[in-house]
């Protein structure tokens, strides 16, 4: 590894002065970060360094010991760990440097990072930084769940890391809250480890994961209660019961020794929030332009940091696409165009990118949107007083909505807005 180690003369804390310089630094070695790294090398970018805080590279898929991974990217059905290892292998083969146990602690203006490593603090300067730090599930606290705070209330991420990385079970008979895709992974993981979920509950009237996947709990003999919400958790040391409420009936107690809180993802945007980069309160990720560029043009972002959430395959492709833009930026300099912010009306949850250049030259990009709740109606894209695109149908929160960028005129002569009526 070619590193410039500049020591502070006479300083007792010489280790704090390690400095890393590279062309592109990528924060996070999940599917998005690694695919971008590989792509940058394919474009001939010199020194590409991936900074990863875990002991092993690969991101979330490392502990998702279940398919489906890799179908779109490698045309093979893989488990998460196999897929993660494959990404790492390709990255190393492409000449990407991966620094594990390196944690980015601050994003400073102009592609400068502060890091901590087991060997001491470090700084990193790059021509560009790509942020690909992913997303995580919302924990109990942020969901403001009532009741006691015993052991055994965990997210799917913790469950899977416990089982597949540390070989430990966090509970034996949990209640599963949520019916997203990840909730089904949770069932699969429980099944594998001999954990017997007592029930699965969903506050809405139907499971979030779509048919035929929504049959999965029943096929596994797990009662699925819709229109049912978690009211409170009971337990002194470990979870003893959960109180749930269905419709208008009174709360009822379900004996269990754990509560598995699945889904409700949120971007891991702590670093962004504490930096000068602009954060989008709707997506909870950094605000980007169609190139994936943040408000500080030396920073780019890709993957689930941008929004909660898409599949690994989507994040992987997004990493590649942003890497293409980044490579262009390094070679020729992407234009610094004036941008229009896309205004959103409820129930639209978010739109990525958040802004588009006034002279819209992006012909093959797409606006990614989601809604907050199931709605039937017309989704409309406005420029000034004109509807430039519209689609009528049933919009579900778990389905991404894509609007091709070329539907926008080449010159935006008014405010851009998306609504749903």
């Amino acid at each position: 590894m070619s590193e410039n180690t500049a020591s502070h003369a006479g300083s007792a804390t010489a280790a704090t002065s390690r400095h890393i310089a590279c062309d592109v630094a990528i924060v996070g070695s999940g599917p998005a970060g690694l695919s971008a790294a590989i792509r940058l090398r394919e474009h001939g970018v010199g020194r590409v360094v991936v900074v990863e805080r875990e002991s092993e590279a690969g991101g979330i898929p490392r502990h998702c010991a279940h398919p489906p991974y890799g179908v779109r990217e490698y045309h093979r059905l893989m488990t998460g760990p196999t897929y993660a290892r494959h990404n790492v292998k390709l990255a190393l083969a492409a000449g990407v440097e991966i620094l594990t146990r390196h944690t980015v602690v601050a994003l400073d203006a102009g592609a400068r990072l502060k890091l901590t490593t087991p060997d001491g603090l470090a700084t990193l300067t790059a021509r560009r930084v790509l942020l690909a730090v992913g997303a995580r599930e919302t924990p109990r606290s942020a969901r403001r769940i009532s009741g006691d705070r015993p052991l055994g209330v965990v997210n799917t991420g913790t469950l899977q890391a416990s089982l597949f990385l540390e070989h430990r079970k966090p509970f034996e008979q949990p209640l599963i809250v949520g019916t997203e895709l990840v909730s089904l992974s949770a069932i699969a993981s429980c099944r594998k480890a001999g954990i017997e979920p007592v029930a699965m509950i969903e506050p809405r009237g139907r499971p979030t994961a779509r048919w035929p996947l929504n049959l999965y709990p029943r096929l596994n003999g797990i009662p699925l209660y819709v229109n049912t919400r978690l009211v409170s958790i009971e337990g002194s040391d470990r979870v003893e019961a959960a109180w749930v409420q269905s419709g208008r009936s009174g709360p009822r107690r379900i004996d269990c020794d754990g509560v598995l809180l699945t889904g409700e993802f949120t971007p891991e945007s702590a670093l962004v929030r504490q930096s000068a980069l602009m954060l989008d309160p709707r997506s909870q990720g950094p605000s980007v332009d169609p190139y994936g560029r943040c408000s500080d043009p030396s920073y780019f972002a890709a993957g689930n940091l941008l929004r909660p959430i898409e599949t690994a395959g989507w994040s992987w492709r997004e990493g590649r696409r942003v890497a293409d833009n980044l490579a262009t930026d390094l070679a020729d300099g992407l234009a610094q165009e004036e941008c229009v912010t896309i205004n959103l009306r409820d129930p639209i949850k978010y739109c990525v990118p958040q802004r588009v250049p006034v002279s819209n030259t992006d012909r093959d990009g797409r606006l990614q949107l989601r809604v907050t709740q199931p709605v039937k109606g017309s989704l409309r894209l406005w420029v000034g007083e004109r509807v430039v695109w519209q689609s009528t149908g049933h919009f579900l929160p778990e389905r991404r909505i894509l609007i091709p960028s070329h539907t926008l005129p080449t010159h935006l002569d008014g405010p851009v807005k998306v609504d749903l009526i």
């Binding site: 704090t16 805080r53 146990r101 942020a142 403001r144 705070r149 540390e166 430990r168």
Partner: protein, 454 residues
């Protein structure tokens, strides 16, 4: 002598008596210390500016405050010098500011002053413009609510005290000279008993003395902790104009670099469970946003609740029973973190009336690891091997040191309080599994329910 209860008051008392040369055994029923009221509070080191003038509470708080400042550095305990402002949000509040100022001065807190609306804004630009003016209390500070009692007890231990955890005192008899205490870990003999049983102080009196001189009526306080990004929004502690029952909902930075809103004041009978209530948590968030509008949309890191050992009176319930070799430090309701060292001195002053001791010559001062965000943390020093908890940047070295310390964590709560592992915004999403692995069977109950191999 036996100190019953390992809350902050018991820990401070064990320390004082150990330093004075007494042979001390601390008995705590929980798997770890801080199993009662002391596990959840606002972590403010109070000046006593608003305490009842002339009260024992005020005296103990001010002694506690002074001693904390005196010993903090040697025990490596942090102090975040924030100052506090009692903010008037309406006419009624504003009308009370002069009285608050007068009481502060009567309590000897001379540096307290009135400040104008403009001065409030200047100090706290993020505060809502509805703030009318305030009383500025420069001496109110933020401390580490868990490292402090831990440091007191570790110093007691380093100077000869013993600690039994998992030892519930269930009964006992006094023969005129010696107490025989019946605990779940066996019999203990002691000449003196100091009741620091907090939320169970009355039960302990009833079990050992036959009757209780007071009754605990737990008063719950719920809190919401905002993400670290919020801490930059305030520099001082924002106090409301208090009412009879409570100091009211506070907005303050924490020593760990977050921003906290709470506590509520809710009466309940249950002494063990401080459960959360979604609607109340929502109202705390709403209140915080009203006062600091920029908090809108700020992620929540943690929610928690604590129980104050309140009694039928506002005053502390301090009882010296020389005929029974018994001292009660009870009903230490809402200022015990501050007053603990003062209460310990008070207990020792009572004890000295009946028995002479020789203070130990050169006491040992064991330092506790720093968890304060504004001071150097372990992750900033090379050689830590691995960051385990990414949100709070807790290193493996810190977790291992806690597990190997003289008073290792007894349960997951104890580990969190000693290291901050799993205390950050992801609440264990990233590190829960690794922490379970590293702690194995060290905690009661263990984090995992079992081992599983594919």
């Amino acid at each position: 002598m036996a100190v019953i209860g390992g809350g902050v008051v018991g820990c401070a008392t064990a320390r004082r008596f150990a330093l004075e040369g007494a042979r001390v055994l601390l008995l705590e029923k929980g798997a770890d210390i801080l199993s009662g009221a002391s596990k959840a509070n606002s972590a403010i080191l109070h000046t006593g500016f608003d305490a009842p003038s002339g009260s024992q509470e005020l005296a103990c708080m001010q002694r506690g405050y002074a001693e904390y400042r005196e010993i903090a550095q040697r025990l490596n305990l942090p102090l975040l010098e924030t100052g506090a402002m009692v903010v008037a949000w309406n006419d009624a509040d504003e009308a009370k500011l002069d009285a608050i100022l007068a009481q502060a001065h009567a309590n000897g807190v001379e540096d307290v002053v009135r400040i104008s609306r403009d001065a409030v804004r200047q100090r706290e630009p993020a505060l809502s413009s509805q703030a009318r003016g305030a009383v500025w209390v420069p001496g109110e500070h933020v401390i580490d609510p868990w490292s402090a009692p831990l440091a007191y007890l570790q110093q007691a231990m380093a100077n000869g005290a013993h600690v039994w955890r998992g030892a519930t005192v269930e009964g006992g008899a006094f023969d005129g000279k010696t107490w025989t205490l019946l605990t779940t870990l066996g019999e203990v003999r002691s000449t003196e008993v100091i009741n620091c049983a907090g939320l169970f102080g009355d039960h302990l009196e009833r079990a050992l003395l036959g009757e209780a001189s007071f009754t605990i009526h737990p008063r719950k306080g719920q809190f919401v902790v905002f993400d670290k990004a919020a801490a930059a929004m305030l520099s001082s502690i924002i106090l409301p104009v208090p009412n009879e029952r409570t100091k009211g909902v506070v907005l303050t930075r924490t020593i760990y670099g977050n921003l906290l809103v709470g506590p509520t004041a809710e009466e309940q009978e249950d002494r063990d469970h401080a459960s959360l209530d979604e609607a109340i948590l929502d109202s705390l968030v709403a209140d915080a946003i009203t006062k600091v509008p920029a908090l809108e949309g700020m992620p929540i890191t943690a929610t928690y609740a604590g129980l104050r050992p309140a009694t039928e009176q506002k005053a502390y319930r301090l009882k010296d029973r020389p005929e029974a070799n018994w001292i009660t430090l009870g009903g230490v309701r809402s200022t015990g973190l501050t007053a603990a060292l003062g209460l310990a001195e008070h207990a020792f002053a009572c004890y000295r009336q009946r028995r002479a001791t020789t203070p130990i010559g050169s006491p040992v001062w064991p330092a506790v690891p720093n968890l304060a965000e504004h001071l150097p943390r372990d992750w900033q020093q090379p050689g830590y091997e691995e960051i385990v908890c990414h949100c709070e940047l807790v290193t493996r070295r810190e977790i291992e040191a806690a597990l190997e310390s003289p008073l290792p964590p007894g349960n997951i709560g104890g580990l969190k309080r000693r290291t901050r592992a799993c205390m950050g915004r992801c609440q264990g999403f990233y590190c829960g599994a690794r922490v379970a692995e590293l702690t194995g069977n060290c905690l009661t109950p263990p984090i995992s329910t079992g081992i599983w191999h594919e």
